[in-house]
């Protein structure tokens, strides 16, 4: 026990003396959360729209008023001819054009009203969100129609963002950042720190000492376990109190699944450290093998819906993907354990498999 304590003390000395790494570990989550929260804002604001309205009746006016009233849209131009549509997009100062048919009001009562939304598709993610927002405005108008005329109006577009009606990006990235940071600290840092012992030759001395491999492994993991819990708390505090992301579900299950995921990531780090001999390769393997998939599959950069099925299949073996799904379900959706029991089981199985493999792979000798 004294050996264990002394080893952890030594490990912390090393971590605290390596100012650069420590800075990355503690400051990066803060920067990531703030950066993604404010600078890289994927929410829509001041969407510039133009309207082509040949019918010019009360109903179309109502619809346009609706868009004017929305804080997301500003109607900056009314077009007189259809040919102008192309021109305003070419100018690059228009995000969306709403095209009404002729005799909109009459069509509406015959239940065949339709509205065309034309968006700039060069940024598909933004275009996807634009139509979603506009669909929201239109459907709320339809609800109003229903009350006013008491006629069943055909609802043609149903684009509703469940749980995140305003498509707040903070809801999306906080679980992603959690998966990313925990992977980084646990898997990357643990593997690099074990491999550093190999590279510096200190592993040779440790192995020739009476210390058991289990002691070496546990004392290597413990500091990073503590560190990752610390950063987890930092991220959650920032998310709740600064970004206003709720924790709707149970804190207990969030903590439990986080601890399970940390165990998975730690075992992954251990596994990597048994496979490589250079810090650089450990960094590459954990960087490309773990961090990239987290970035790609967490919805941090690309919406998961846009990922091709082949890649989604690959993402299934990435532990962070399941963890992020659980965090989303607990924090944002606030659902009970029965809704993420599958993901949780997958993580438990992964933990067991990884620990066993890493364990079997750990060498009590140099080669």
């Amino acid at each position: 026990m004294k050996q264990f304590y002394s080893f952890i003390k030594k490990e912390f000395y090393q971590i605290f003396r390596d100012k650069r790494t420590l800075l990355i570990l503690l400051v990066m989550p803060v920067i990531l959360v703030i950066l993604l929260g404010y600078a890289i804002n994927t929410e829509l604001n001041d969407v510039r729209i133009a309207v082509f309205d040949p019918s010019k009746d009360t109903e179309t006016r109502h619809v346009i008023e609706r868009f004017r009233a929305s804080k997301y849209f500003s109607v900056i131009k009314e077009l007189d001819t259809k040919s102008e549509i192309n021109d305003v997009f070419k100018g690059g100062n228009m995000d969306m054009v709403i095209v009404f048919p002729e005799n909109f009001s009459a069509r509406l009562h015959k239940r065949e009203a339709n509205i065309q939304l034309i968006v700039d598709g060069t940024d598909p993610n933004q275009a996807y969100m634009l139509t979603g927002y506009a669909g929201g405005v239109l459907s709320s108008y339809q609800m109003e129609l229903l009350e006013r005329y008491d006629i069943p109006v055909q609802i043609q577009t149903e684009t509703r963002m469940l749980y995140n009606p305003q498509a707040k990006s903070a809801y999306n990235f906080v679980p992603g950042v959690m998966g990313l940071i925990l992977t980084l600290i646990c898997a990357m840092m643990t593997s690099v720190s074990i491999v550093r012992e190999k590279e510096m030759g200190t592993m040779e001395v440790l192995l020739a000492s009476p210390m058991k491999p289990i002691q070496i492994i546990l004392s290597k993991m413990a500091p990073y376990f503590v560190l990752s819990i610390t950063t987890l708390v930092i991220i959650l505090l920032l998310a709740v109190f600064v970004m206003g992301v709720p924790i709707r579900g149970s804190l207990f299950w969030l903590a439990l699944s986080s601890v399970l995921f940390i165990i998975v990531a730690l075992s992954l780090g251990l596994l990597i450290s048994t496979l490589v001999d250079k810090q650089m390769s450990a960094l590459l393997v954990s960087g490309i093998g773990l961090m990239m998939p987290v970035l790609v599959f967490s919805g941090l950069i690309f919406p998961i819906e846009n990922i091709p099925w082949v890649l989604r299949w690959i993402s299934d073996v990435i532990p962070a993907r399941w963890y992020i799904a659980i965090v989303r379900k607990i924090m944002i959706e606030g659902v009970g354990v029965q809704f993420f029991i599958k993901e949780l089981c997958i993580i438990v199985v992964m933990a067991l498999v990884l620990i066993t493999v890493a364990w079997k792979n750990f060498k009590v000798r140099l080669c």
């Binding site: 200190t202 040779e204 020739a208």
Partner: protein, 306 residues
């Protein structure tokens, strides 16, 4: 019981036979030197004995325990200092020592007397990071760390490589002191001058022992009369020496060449021969052979034998 006993030990990396059917024994309390050039197999041998590597064949026992099956027991009994500086560079001298003391379930105070002489010299720098120490001080710290648990057998793999001559001498004085305390020490070195300080030495080349004996006996068995040759045109001297038909062997040895003759050769004739070839201020002195001369002779025999 021998502190270390090795029989038919083999280890190869691919086609390279790093350790080739070695058999030897180190007595308790002995200072045993493994002398040989880089790549001779010294480090591999040490790693096998320190239970860090599995041999391909043969057996090795340390303090009576088998290096393969009883590696756990052996790890409690040995002190091992790898060839490369292997302490934590980002920990201070003191922290390193304390850390290794607890790793071996002991304290610095408990065995302080053993390391006192060595540690005293680096104690003024105990708050300094180990990475910022000079080469000699690093080795003293590494030795302190390897000794802190009072091991029965000490394995030192090239402890003085890259250390200045003064520190090397100090280091060896410490080893002699440790030996007097009854610790068995196995040390490897590429420096032949250090060999004479050992009780017995094994000359190793290509994974095989050329000879094992006391340094005195090895030197006494040198069969030829050895001459040291010097002239003003040193760069040409080796070629000219080798072209002289009666020269049996000639090796560069610092600032001179060490030469032996066949029966008919004599220093007087060689001097005349060299003068004819334009060498001036030729100096030929009879000298006593050193371990290195023995090594060169034995190493050449080994090669010719193959």
């Amino acid at each position: 019981m021998a502190a270390v006993s090795v029989e038919n030990l083999c280890k190869s990396y691919g086609k390279v036979q790093a350790v080739n059917k070695l058999s030897f024994a180190v007595e308790e309390g002995e200072l045993y030197g493994i002398i040989g050039p880089d790549g001779a197999g010294k480090t591999t041998l040490f790693r096998i004995l320190a239970t860090l590597m599995l041999p391909d064949g043969g057996t090795a026992r340390v303090a009576g325990y088998d290096v393969v099956n009883d590696y756990r027991t052996i790890r409690n009994l040995i002190g091992y200092m790898p060839g490369r500086f292997s302490l934590y560079q980002d920990l201070t001298v003191e922290e390193n020592l304390n850390f290794f003391a607890t790793v071996f379930s002991t304290t610095v105070d408990e065995n302080y007397s053993l390391i006192e002489d060595i540690y005293k010299q680096i104690e003024p720098f105990k708050k300094r990071l180990a990475g910022k120490l000079s080469g000699g001080m690093k080795q003293k710290l590494a030795l302190s760390c390897a000794l802190i648990h009072k091991p029965e057998v000490l394995f030192l793999d090239e402890p003085t490589t890259g250390v200045d001559p003064v520190s090397r001498k100090e280091f060896w004085n410490m080893l002699l002191k440790l030996k007097r305390q009854g610790i068995t020490i196995m040390v490897s070195t590429p420096y032949m001058d250090e060999a004479t300080l050992c009780d017995r030495i094994a000359l190793i080349q290509n994974g095989e022992f050329l000879e094992v004996d006391t340094p005195r006996h090895i030197i006494d068995r040198y069969p030829d009369v050895l001459w040291s040759v010097k002239s003003d045109k040193m760069h040409r001297l080796l070629d000219d020496l080798r072209s002289y038909p009666h020269v049996k062997s000639s090796f560069s040895f610092g600032e001179t060449f060490h030469v032996t003759f066949y029966g008919q050769g004599s220093p007087g004739e060689l001097e005349a021969y060299l003068s004819d070839r334009g060498h001036q201020s030729v100096e030929i002195r009879k000298i006593a052979p050193s371990v290195e001369d023995c090594f060169m002779l034995l190493g050449r025999k080994g090669k010719n034998g193959k």
